[in-house]
């Protein structure tokens, strides 16, 4: 059952140097409860696509349907609430002048989730759900580590109980040990809460281990879509093959896979 469907979606930006086709005629279904990875290099259109899903950008052509309903360019509060996101840069994502708790509470206040008296406990529960102590709500973002800030970003998205979360390079600014913990957290939360993820990244090694399906983008076009294991074992396009071939690896077995792919079909 598909939760989100993109139907012939395009986005063109007008610039001084002529029109830029950031996303070209993309059709894609995101199934309820799956983690779909959107992979591409800079200029692939993956961020533009994410912004259209989130309603930050209006598509130039095509339609976005959520749960069977077409989403308008200007969304209502309820429509917004169902799709949340986690950003790449955890430092910029939190207001430096507000406490961590205030940032999480914003969504609860906006949608009047629970009574006023229940909201601070709810904020603390959201922090605990991402593995942070509840009392951390009093802290300023500057007093947190990168990994803690990213967990707060996740807690903020979860607090309004969305159905779909767009994860925009959620771990690429983190150290590898922190990344490992955050990825496990994201994976566990999805299973426990039946969430659907659109995971945007350039890091194929990460999506290999977290995504159910992978969509490869290049220059605004969807060029390959498949189940994760199938796509890695037998990529259909040379571009995907070259992307996998460029991943720096640490194991001999990885090197073997990479060499096999480099040799081609």
């Amino acid at each position: 059952m598909s939760l989100l469907s993109l139907d012939h979606l395009s986005k063109t930006f007008r610039t001084a140097g002529g029109p830029v086709h950031a996303v070209r005629d993309v059709s894609l279904e995101v199934k309820s409860g799956e983690c779909l990875a959107i992979v591409g290099e800079s200029g692939s259109g993956k961020t533009t696509l994410a912004n259209m899903i989130l309603g930050i950008l209006a598509p130039s052509a095509g339609e976005i349907r959520f749960d069977g309903q077409a989403l308008p360019a200007r969304r209502t509060a309820t429509e917004r609430r169902r799709i949340q996101f986690v950003q790449q840069n955890p430092l910029s994502a939190l207001n430096p002048k507000r406490s961590v708790g205030a940032s999480i509470r914003l969504g609860l206040d906006t949608y009047r989730i629970g009574g006023r008296a229940e909201r601070w406990p709810a904020v603390e529960a959201a922090l605990e759900a991402v593995g942070l102590p509840g009392e951390m709500r009093h802290r300023a973002p500057a007093a947190l580590s990168g990994g803690q800030r990213q967990r707060v970003g996740i807690a903020r998205a979860l607090a309004v109980e969305p159905q779909l979360i767009v994860l925009d390079e959620p771990t690429s600014a983190l150290d590898v040990l922190v990344q490992a913990r955050v990825l496990r957290l994201l994976d566990r939360l999805r299973r426990e809460r039946g969430l659907t993820y659109v995971f945007i990244t350039h890091d194929l090694a990460v999506v290999r281990n977290i995504a159910d399906r992978i969509a490869v983008f290049r220059a605004g076009r969807l060029i390959e879509l498949g189940e994760t294991a199938a796509l890695f074992n037998d990529p259909k396009t040379d571009y995907t093959r070259s992307l996998i071939g460029a991943v720096p690896v640490v194991d001999e077995s990885e090197l073997e896979l990479r060499t096999r792919l480099a040799e081609g079909p």
């Binding site: 989130l54 930050i56 799709i83 950003q87 207001n95 002048k97 507000r98 914003l106 906006t110 903020r156």
Partner: protein, 277 residues
């Protein structure tokens, strides 16, 4: 707050600024008690002692009608500070709201509001104030009004430029995706990030407002006699230079100290509050 004072006092110049400002504020507040001749703030005449150089009796000499200049400077500080505080208390919120709305909303709102601001900024401040004072009666209230009219656009522009760059920050995007309202985002999310710069500018501007107000008085368009004012005192004395130098030098120094103090303090605050401009 404690941290702020510690950092301020670490830098000798900021400490000096803080010291001067505290001194001036205390002088203005305590004028009625510390002035040697408290009644000299009004229309007092003492022709036996007029135009006397500094002495043990009158530390800064006396003016043309025999009033103690030191006492009048203390009272003049009261006038200047009240004027500066009132001007900034009105100009800052107006400018902030205009800048915040223009910077966050963008589009047509931004174009219209910022064009208005540009028009105000393109007129030399003193000329604008002179024009206003030409139409209105030269009273203290009108002087404040004139200075306020030329002051708010600076705050609009400052806040606008910060709001515009903050608009691109991830936390603003996050609030928009969550679905928070425009008012919330502008005033609760963006405004707190503009405050350090606003506070710093206000401190720096205290000195400048005092100068502009003094200039207006110097031209006879500001505070009217017999109310003591630093600008008018300098103006009166200017005709008797260099013989009766104390008539101009002491009020002039008083202006200098006030402007200097507020500027040093403003620079120090800029460091404390982490404003890079």
């Amino acid at each position: 707050m404690k941290r702020a004072i510690r950092i301020l006092s670490r830098n000798p110049l900021s400490a000096l600024g803080l010291g001067l400002v505290v001194l001036i504020v205390l002088a203005a507040l305590l004028a009625p008690w510390i002035a040697p001749y408290p009644d000299h703030n009004g229309a007092v005449v003492d022709f036996l002692n007029n135009n006397k150089p500094p002495s043990a009796r009158n530390w800064m000499g006396t003016d043309l009608v025999g009033r103690d200049i030191f006492s009048r400077i203390l009272y003049a500080y009261q006038t200047s500070l009240v004027l500066a505080v009132v001007v900034l208390a009105i100009a800052t919120p107006i400018g902030t709201v205009v800048g915040l709305i223009a910077g966050y909303l963008g589009g047509w709102t931004e174009t219209i509001l910022m064009r208005v601001v540009d028009v105000f900024l393109s007129i030399p401040p003193l000329v604008l104030a002179l024009a206003m004072m030409g139409v209105l009666k030269p009273t203290l209230t009108n002087a404040m009004l004139a200075v306020t009219a030329m002051w708010w656009p600076w705050y609009a522009r400052l806040v606008y430029s910060i709001a515009r760059s903050e608009r691109e920050e991830g936390y603003v995007l996050a609030a928009e995706v969550i679905g928070a309202g425009t008012t919330h985002i502008a005033f609760r999310e963006i405004l707190p990030n503009c405050l350090p710069a606003i506070i710093t500018k206000m401190t720096l501007d205290m000195g400048f407002v005092i100068i502009i107000a003094s200039s207006l008085s110097f031209l006879g368009l500001g505070v009217q006699p017999p109310t003591p004012d630093l600008g008018s005192m300098v103006a009166e004395g200017a005709n008797y230079l260099p013989d009766s130098w104390w008539l101009t030098v002491f009020p002039g120094l008083a202006i200098l100290i006030a402007v200097f103090g507020f500027n040093l303090l403003g620079d120090g605050l800029r460091d404390v509050l982490g404003v890079d401009r």
